[in-house]
């Protein structure tokens, strides 16, 4: 078992993103408008802000195509219909939408009965967005945040990052990851745990700074 103890400094861009409030505070406001007034303009703005991230996540988990499109549509409809369920006290709008998207993707993966390995290319392999138009539609804060987070993730020890990616994007259980990578189950669990602790530490340092 390799336990890395890399001390990560918060990337300046990500720190600025938190300082600026980024789209997440706007996202919470937009969800509130949708919940209280069924504000179509707010919903449209929320879609513009979040769709590239959510659709990118869905494509990464399910592969580009109708399933990913269905997931995006279902998540946004859920945001419209159940915006009142969003509790800003429990997390940001981004977290809420990302969790919804990932949950639906995992459901689809389970219904497929097999988890396709959608090219876990790793962060090094997808250093640039696959869709230039999507990048163009991002806000400056989103682009900075994405770049910063990718840099932060890239700073994780390779085996921790890869384990987290398989678990996050493919939804494989720890034992399934162990079977795929040939690593002991305990190692897989430890890598995931350490990786998450570092991400949490990184996040905490952003919020405190």
């Amino acid at each position: 078992m390799v336990a890395s103890c890399v001390v990560m400094n918060p990337p300046k861009q990500l720190q600025r993103q938190y300082d600026d409030g980024a789209w997440e505070s706007e996202g919470a406001e937009l969800l509130s408008l949708v919940a209280r007034h069924k504000d179509e303009a707010a919903f449209s703005r929320l879609y513009d802000l979040s769709a590239p991230l959510l659709y990118g996540l869905a494509c990464r988990m399910l592969g580009p195509g109708s399933d990913a499109e269905d997931v995006l549509q279902e998540v946004m409809l859920q945001a419209w219909n159940r915006a009142a369920a969003f509790d800003p006290g429990k997390g940001t709008a981004r977290v809420w939408l990302v969790v919804l998207t990932r949950s639906r993707c995992l459901d689809k993966l389970r219904r497929r009965g097999t988890r396709r390995g959608h090219e876990i290319a790793g962060l090094d392999g997808v250093a640039e967005p696959a869709d230039d138009e999507a990048s163009a539609s991002e806000t400056l804060e989103q682009t900075e945040a994405r770049t910063a987070v990718r840099q932060a993730l890239a700073a994780l020890p390779d085996e921790q990052r890869r384990t987290l990616e398989i678990a996050y994007f493919e939804g494989l259980s720890q034992s399934e990851i162990a079977a795929r990578t040939g690593e002991p189950l305990g190692t897989v669990k430890t890598r995931m745990r350490l990786g998450m602790l570092k991400l949490m530490e990184l996040l905490k340092s952003f919020q405190q700074s």
Binding site: L53, G56, W80, P129, A130, S137, R150
Partner: protein, 241 residues
């Protein structure tokens, strides 16, 4: 297939927390953002929008349909229910609206044609209203007496404070007295109802009954109150029978 989420904090011996969720969601940035097909937003905006177009599409035909129904209704409702054919007060030719009170002068009579199927003669000082609901005619006799001839099949009812007289195609006479009402079937059949056992009277010639409003109507002994040949002559002259 194992459905356990490996990103469940408990599976990593970590406490569920907002920080964990925040950190986990950062993983999503590991995926390259993609611009969704434009059709998705279009479909979404269409799905969430109220359906004014559909509403309007139905509203106009519905309104038109309602107007088509209401115009005849109000036309029929405003149509006179009766016409004064002869009146000692000189009101001949006047139309009587449904629900309008008709008062015969104390020293005279009013002869009315009620629609196409009934004729009614209201006595000296008699007061009545005639209403039409659907095809049914109801004469509310408040005082005095009336003599009426009704074509068989026409729904026609005379209501007094003591009961109701349903006409089953007949010529008949009703008089309100202080203590009880007098009903005479001149020809045909009547059904008397109210707070007493329902009774029917069928007769070829004058057969009368007292209706006190509480007990079963009793035969009045052919007293032939208040109506005679001259009265019938006036009614029959314009009777539809």
């Amino acid at each position: 297939m194992n459905t356990e989420d490996p990103f469940d904090p408990k599976s990593l011996d970590l406490e569920p927390s907002r920080e964990f969720d925040e950190a986990a969601s950062l993983m999503a940035y590991g995926a390259a953002p993609r611009r969704p097909p434009a059709g998705i937003k279009r479909r979404l905006m269409k799905a969430i929008a109220p359906a004014p177009a559909a509403w309007r599409a139905w509203a106009v035909p519905s309104l038109a349909f309602a107007v088509l129904l209401l115009v005849p209704y109000f036309f029929l409702r405003s149509r006179p229910v009766a016409e004064i054919v002869d009146a000692s007060s000189g009101a001949s030719g006047s139309s009587i609206a449904s629900g309008q009170t008709i008062n015969a002068p104390p020293d005279g009579e009013i002869l009315l044609r009620v629609g196409k199927d009934a004729v009614l003669k209201l006595s000296h000082g008699g007061e009545a209203t005639i209403t039409r609901k659907g095809g049914a005619l109801t004469v509310n006799l408040k005082s005095g007496w009336l003599l009426s001839s009704v074509r068989h099949g026409q729904s026609y009812r005379v209501v007094t404070a003591r009961g109701a007289v349903d006409v089953l195609g007949t010529e008949f006479f009703v008089r309100i007295r202080p203590d009880k009402d007098y009903v005479c079937v001149c020809a045909g059949r009547l059904r008397l109802s109210g707070a007493f056992p329902t009774a029917e009277i069928a007769a070829e010639a004058h057969t009368d009954a007292w209706m006190d409003g509480s007990t079963k109507p009793e035969h009045a002994g052919w007293s032939l109150e208040g109506h005679g040949d001259a009265d019938w002559e006036a009614v029959r002259r314009i009777s539809p029978r």
